[in-house]
């Protein structure tokens, strides 16, 4: 699985680095991307509280960030 994921990330990366045609915007076109709701971590505390809940109840964690929990709850 991980080799497939790496292949997919390499493809995505290659597409990006090569400036693949329609991807991306010009600097003056970032008005929508600058909105608070378009930030990848727009609600970091909500995410941290949820991650803590799921870390203590499920076998999986991380993905969005590192998987460690720093908690004795699991």
């Amino acid at each position: 699985m991980i080799s497939r994921l790496i292949r997919l990330s390499v493809i995505l990366g290659t597409m990006s680095i090569s400036g693949c045609g329609s991807l991306g915007v010009k600097p003056w076109q970032r008005d929508v991307l600058a909105r608070e709701d378009m930030q990848l971590d727009s609600n970091p505390i909500d995410a941290a509280v949820d991650d803590h809940l799921y870390f203590s109840k499920e076998a999986s964690s991380g993905g969005r960030s590192f998987a460690g929990g720093g908690c004795g709850c699991n």
Binding site: V25, D37, Q39, V49, A59, S65
Partner: protein, 420 residues
């Protein structure tokens, strides 16, 4: 906030986006504060109160610093791993502050009714741009409980390409945990009644790496893709969990402390897409696949939909999350006497069982006038309902049929937040 901030891929690097205050001259009031008070309640089990405060500042030269403090106060009843029985079951528990006994009524899931723990965690991150297109983030966190101490350090580097439409990031983290079980750690796989203990504390350590690519797809669409691997080594047991030993007639004849492998490697792929559908509506959809060498496979899908109102002065954000996992290879809800003596790994911890879970949530946030020199603040309230349903299909002796052997989890989370 600069749009380029959104292009930080690695989790450690993302934290600088918490800042709401603009870069400024360095006055104390330029620090932004994000705070919350969460209350978590499980049906008939644990409840927790969790205050969190995060302070952050982006300096005029692009450096960013943040600190956060989290406190958890947990109390209530915690499952001990044993199976419900037709007869009363009496246990001697080391959890909580002192040794005590408790009895579980017939047909009920055995839980230690006097579970109590407090946890405090302190963390911070420092981000330094060292070229116009590169930045490094270093951070750390320490966390302490009655019987557990954890220290984590992390570092990541992020590089922008393609007119800052693409960011590639790479991060590593290293976690060290020290466990001092109350009443000492039981010998893994030993008989519960014999109370065989190991001397001294236990440790485990983990190393994780995360490679991320963040791509501006269009003017309204941002995509992030991460792959990560982490490997933990050391004491990975839950010292308070044990497994019922069941006769073929369905009677509980004893218990055995769980016995997990001493290393675990997890791999995951994560894909998030943020799309602004209009000036009012945006969505964040994330998908995650994870697997480990214990045999657990999991899929997760989560959708946030934000509906902004009143010229973005307030918003409503419903959320739904779906999760499922397969069981660890050594998960077993009970051990049959005919399987004794067991020499292999085993655990009845339901977190290693096959199950699926749903979360439904909604958040409301309202912009308010700022304090001091700040332009604005934001008050929010949110609620979530989490339900976990076990998918255990192990055949059980006839005498146990009809009992609710795997009740799952039902929990509610309520949180108020304030940013200024």
């Amino acid at each position: 906030m600069a749009a380029s901030c959104a292009l930080l891929g690695a989790g450690a690097a993302r934290s600088q986006q918490t800042a709401m205050a603009p870069p400024d001259s360095g006055l104390l009031e330029d620090w932004s504060v994000d705070s919350a008070l969460a209350y978590y309640h499980e049906d008939g089990r644990i409840q927790a109160i969790e205050p969190v405060v995060d302070v952050a500042k982006v300096f005029a030269d692009g450096h960013a610093l943040n600190f956060n403090v989290t406190f958890d106060a947990l109390s209530g009843a915690s499952p001990n791993g044993a199976l419900p029985s037709r007869n009363p079951q009496t246990f001697s528990s080391p959890s909580g502050k002192s040794q005590h006994q408790y009895t579980t009524a017939p047909g009920q899931l055995p839980v230690d009714p006097d579970y109590h723990d407090d946890r405090i965690a302190v963390g911070g991150n420092w981000t330094t741009p060292f070229t116009r297109l590169d930045q490094v983030t270093v951070g750390g966190k320490v966390s302490a409980e009655d019987d557990f101490f954890s220290a984590t350090v992390n570092a990541s580097i992020a590089h922008d390409f393609n007119e800052k439409n693409t960011t590639v990031s790479f991060g590593v983290d290293n976690e060290f945990d020290s466990i001092h079980p109350i009443g000492s750690a039981p010998v893994p796989g030993s008989e519960y009644e014999l109370a065989e203990k190991q001397t001294g504390g236990k440790t485990k350590d983990g190393v994780g790496v995360l490679l991320g690519v963040t791509q501006v797809m269009t003017r309204n669409w941002l995509s992030e893709f991460n792959v990560s691997i982490d490997r933990f080594h050391g004491y990975l047991n839950d010292p308070y969990k044990f497994t019922s030993i069941i006769s073929s007639a369905g009677g509980t004849t004893g218990y055995e402390y769980e016995n997990r492998p001493d290393q675990r490697t997890r791999e995951s792929g994560y894909w998030e897409n943020r799309v602004a559908w209009s000036s009012q509506i945006s969505t964040a959809l994330s998908l995650r696949y994870m697997r480990d060498d214990w045999g657990v496979r999991s899929d997760t899908a989560q959708l946030h939909l934000r509906w902004s109102l009143s010229n973005r002065d307030r918003y409503i954000e419903p959320t739904v999350r779906w999760y499922r996992q397969t069981a660890a290879d050594f998960y077993t809800p009970f051990i049959l006497t005919t399987q004794k003596p067991t020499t292999e790994f085993e655990s009845s911890d339901s977190r290693l069982a096959a199950f699926h879970a749903m979360t439904y949530g909604v958040k409301y946030a309202q912009k308010l006038p700022g304090l001091g020199g700040r332009a604005e603040s934001e008050f929010s309230v949110r609620a979530e309902y989490y339900q976990q349903t076990l998918d255990v299909r192990t055949p059980v002796p006839t005498a146990l049929q009809g009992l609710d052997l795997y009740p799952g989890v039902k929990a509610v989370l309520v949180q108020i937040g304030w940013r200024f």
